[in-house]
Symmetry: C2
Subunit: 648 residues, 2 copies
């Protein structure tokens, strides 16, 4: 008798081995139609694979990451099948599922290429093959047999991959006439793949090594319903328009230079202004919550990072140590601010009366990322964290967590992120030896996080076993205006660094105690946050935040002086105003400045100068009538004040 | 006939060779008594050395650096003579004049030491020898003779130094029984040395190499009048009290950590607050003058610094390049911000209508200094420049210079530096080939600086030949409250970087032109400036600037709540207020907080709580009566506003 335990705790009994698909069908025929893969004792399996012993299982549909993963993995095979049919003799590298779709690296026969224009043909072939409703069948063969098989086919890449596997059974997956080396899992049948879009082509060195041959990487995405593909295409179109790299250029926010280096953004005046607004805003909020700013250097002696453990973690794959003319002296670019803050904590003896101590710093850190992984402001090599470290007693932990949640709420509200959830990551209670810190402290900390989140009414998922070895944490996920999810904002408890740095405070009992540290960064990094904010708002930042609030457009050069007068009056009232005095037609000026996302456009000509007034256009909303300069200044001031009042 | 041209252009004629001393006597017997050395064709000479051909000369008295240099150099010899007399068998290393006095490195005979307590004895001996009125006589001998002489004396250090000199004549100086290897120049006679103070003792490796023997370095200073020594001692006493390292600790402004690294300051909350106040103040001023903030990373590809020329300049003696896992990729910690700002300039095409462009950044740079040269915040390895680069046309140069001078005036006024001068450094018109940039541009730039300084009523000295090879400059020197001079604030024209980075703008003529760059940093570096400011004000910063403006001192724990209420009310009005709620006697609290230089101390007890008032003490001035909380808040606000109104 086999006992199958479902996620809700209910148990089904079977007399003989059973597949995930059979269990789904057993539950409901409708579920059997929708199910894509199954987790068996936390391992992802094909639906058709026999479960031969008692197991905990979870069935995955399209709305699970695990379901999508199998779907896209099978789609990669389907694409390979189509390419093999269209380009016989093609050799295949690897073809994984990725976050959003899949790709396959292929080596086409001598003289043949796949270009963008060929993608529709491959899509068509894939649909044709999918409609053959071929079963996807797993088979296990020996390593030697597998090598012989792919040698015969002439597929040297697969042979290379197989030879590196451990001896034993190798799994293959076949559908129709196509067989691939693969760990799985896969869909039961290709017919589930209903809608297909091949999205792009890129070159990729075999195994990422530039000394190897360059293969052709074909990217695609597939869906179980045509409607889902349509929605995806609309979203992609919208995301393209909101690409922060495109908008960053249009708004003159930041730039990159090959000579400074990849992944090292240069903030132009308007971008620097935007960052300063964000930093000033957060500093103000943090001041109210009792934070103190500190400033620390961007390097530290290697000793410091050996103490903290970062040297081992970032050592080999990162920026290498900086030597000096003094033999044996070595510094590291700082990958994190925490060790420096620990040293400030240690600069003086501390008493329980001093706690909690909250050190905040907009600290720029440097971490080496592979050049292929760099992307605009979201993945860079130097970034500024809105970092802070709270040193507190175990009893203060819950209250401090609640205060950090409050700060994150204020930020989300100010920046109009209204859809967010949080994940609580706890330790695995079955493996407590993996974690540093006493059981008592862990229980206290985990309870503190769970209660703090509940008391603040946060929507949370709890993941057991997802805590870092040094403490439990709380992560925020936001949904942006086009429905994409971004991880922002982390609160992390740390028992490790206080131990490593031997941090202490004198308690009310006059004994030495170890404080607990909380790492927290509501924005995460200024670079990534600005990128997300641009894509969320399409560059139309809230008025209080946007670098240029008003642009004055003289109808002709005759009114440039009046335009400058208007601009000066507004700037004196701290309204960030510029003048577009180019010798261009007014229509062109309006278009150009709308593209710069300046919220208010003031048109001034003869009538306005005579009345000492301005004609107002709201970005994207057109004409808003005219009023006196002073009334307009009051209007803007009120709008900003109302926004800020609703935040704090 | 020998023609001697004096600095005022007048010419004296002599029939035979003549000495500087004879010329001085010829001018006036009084001058002959005061003169210490002479510059002959810009080379520093002994007064007794024969001038055998036509020459331009300048006679140096005590008020010239060159005069002091000869005075202290001879004093080093006098100290060596005294040490040789008191400790026969001592060997001598080097004994130069320094900025303020002199030192000599000595190797005492086996078993003997010089300690602090021995210094008065050496001083006494020096005075005794000085009163012997010995002539200091130069003699020239061959290298071989010199080696033989010092070998005989057993002075291996001098032998080593001489063997490294080029073959030819070696100069020696003798006085009484003492002879030293020396290039000179020296005083004519030891009798000019009237007042002597040996100040300290340190260990110093022979030739600065830690593999060599550690010698004893004895520091001293001497004067031509006893009164000058008295004044110097008073100044030193005062300077010691104002030492920024001492006050920085008392006020909790900054700290250093061995594990972060020497010369890398960590700014504690109050220091970070002070810096932020200074930065906000300067940003506000700069905004009024049309500056735009930018933000750039702290590293750059080595290529960038090869283009700028900094790699050659800072290369070997500085922080070494940072390697990455990618072969051939190398970055440098940035020693200067200018290359990054050039790249921002280059990010877009520029027109003459865009100029002047003024990019400002509080940019942290890293330069390696020898550990022995590090000193508190004045000499560090990482520092933040209040940097800006102005890109302009040649015609805009003068106006831009005037605007920068205005900014520097505002800063000096705000920070109560009332005694300052400036040095204009021009190129050497006889060696124009040493300089980059056209004659026309140099003439224009030099005229612009001279006129700008004159129109702004600046007290200046002009030094011909002191310009950098890439442009003329203007440096500000301030005198602090105890009379010491500090160099602060530089304005530097640069023709070189625009050339190296191929910067361009399109002129009104539609042709490409090269802009001129101005580097300027009114504070210089935030670290050094804060150090100077602490020593100038003894930590008693102006009210608008000081990190903590008010401290509330409850008379006993009973009044802690009321103290916190007062503090909250003041903080809401943006008055930076803290509470000292330690369980200490009120007298102790007053003393401790006076030491922290908090300008206002509010004492609150039963009476104050009943009246909702505060009793006021002004730091260093004692009791100032009592008033309501609101009245006190108004008082502070008014004081700050008055200070700021007088600045802008």
């Amino acid at each position: 008798m086999i006992h199958i335990t479902l996620p809700d705790g209910s148990v089904k009994q079977y007399e003989s081995p059973v597949t995930g698909y059979e269990i789904a069908k057993d539950i409901s025929p409708r579920l059997a139609k929708e199910v894509l893969s199954v987790s068996v004792n936390d391992e992802l399996w094909d639906l058709q694979r026999q479960i031969t012993a008692d197991a905990n299982i979870k069935l995955h549909k399209w709305d699970d990451k695990e379901g999508q993963h199998a779907f896209w993995h099978s789609s990669a095979h389907l694409m390979a099948e189509a390419i093999e049919a269209l380009y016989p003799g093609t050799k295949f590298g690897i073809g994984p599922a990725i976050d959003s779709g899949f790709y396959y690296d292929v080596d086409l026969p001598q003289g043949q290429v796949i270009a963008e224009k060929d993608l529709p043909l491959i899509e068509k072939k894939m649909l044709e093959l999918a409609r053959q409703k071929n079963d996807i069948v797993r088979s296990d063969i020996s390593k030697d047999e597998a090598i012989a098989m792919f040698e015969k086919k002439g597929d040297e890449y697969k042979v290379e991959l197989i030879s590196e596997l451990e001896d034993g059974t190798i799994s293959l997956y076949s559908q129709g006439n196509f067989t691939d080396l693969c760990r799985g899992p896969h869909l039961p049948n290709t017919e589930l793949i209903k809608a297909i879009k091949l999205t792009s082509i890129a070159g990729a060195y075999w195994r990422g090594n530039e000394k190897n041959k360059m293969l052709t990487r074909v990217y695609g995405i597939t869906f179980p319903k045509a409607k889902l593909l349509d929605e995806y295409l609309v979203l992609m179109e919208e995301a393209k328009k909101r690409d922060h790299r495109k908008i960053g250029k249009e708004m003159d926010l930041f730039t990159f230079s090959q000579d400074v280096g990849m992944g090292l953004p240069l903030w132009m005046p308007k971008g620097a202004q935007l960052r300063e607004q964000l930093e000033t805003f957060l500093k103000k909020v943090q001041k109210q919550f009792g934070y103190e700013q500190v400033l620390t250097p961007h390097i530290g002696d290697v000793k410091l990072y050996k103490t903290s453990g970062h040297y081992d973690k970032y050592g080999k794959d990162s920026f290498q140590p900086i030597h000096t003319p003094q033999e044996g002296e070595e510094y590291l670019l700082k990958p994190m601010n925490c060790p420096h803050h620990c040293e400030i904590y240690k600069a003086r003896p501390r008493s329980y009366k001093d706690l909690p101590i909250r050190y905040a710093e907009f600290g720029t850190v440097y971490r080496y990322e592979q050049s292929g992984e760099l992307h605009g402001l979201t993945r860079v090599r130097g970034f500024t964290q809105d970092d802070a470290h709270i040193f507190c007693t175990p009893d203060q932990l819950k209250d401090e967590f609640k205060k950090v949640i409050d700060i994150i709420f204020i930020i989300f509200k100010a920046l109009e992120f209204n859809d967010y959830t949080a994940q609580i990551s706890l330790r695995d209670p079955k493996n407590t030896e993996k974690y540093i810190g006493s059981d008592e402290n862990w229980e206290k900390a985990e309870r503190a996080i769970v209660e703090a989140a509940a008391e603040k009414g946060l929507r949370t998922v709890t993941e057991t076993g997802e805590a870092a070895f040094y403490g439990p944490k709380l992560d925020f996920m936001i949904k942006d205006a086009v429905g994409r999810s971004w991880q922002l904002g982390t609160i992390q408890v740390d028992y490790n660094l206080p131990e490593r740095f031997e941090l202490e405070y004198t308690g009310a009992d006059n004994q030495k105690h170890r404080p607990i540290m909380i790492h927290r960064a509501p924005f995460g990094s200024m670079e990534r946050f600005v990128a997300v904010l641009i894509e969320h708002t399409a560059g139309k930042f809230p008025l209080w935040l946007t670098p240029e609030q008003v642009v004055v457009l003289p109808i002709s050069e005759k009114f440039n002086d009046y335009a400058r007068k208007v601009s000066n009056i507004l700037n004196i009232s701290d309204i960030r105003t510029v003048v577009d005095d180019r010798n261009e037609k007014i229509g062109r000026k309006i278009r150009d400045n709308e593209l710069k996302r300046i919220p208010y456009l003031l048109i001034v000509g003869e009538k306005e100068e005579a009345d000492q007034s301005v004609s107002i256009r709201r970005q994207g909303q057109g004409d808003k009538g005219s009023m006196s300069i002073d009334d307009f200044a009051r209007l803007i001031k009120n709008e900003v004040e109302e926004q800020l009042a609703s935040i704090y």
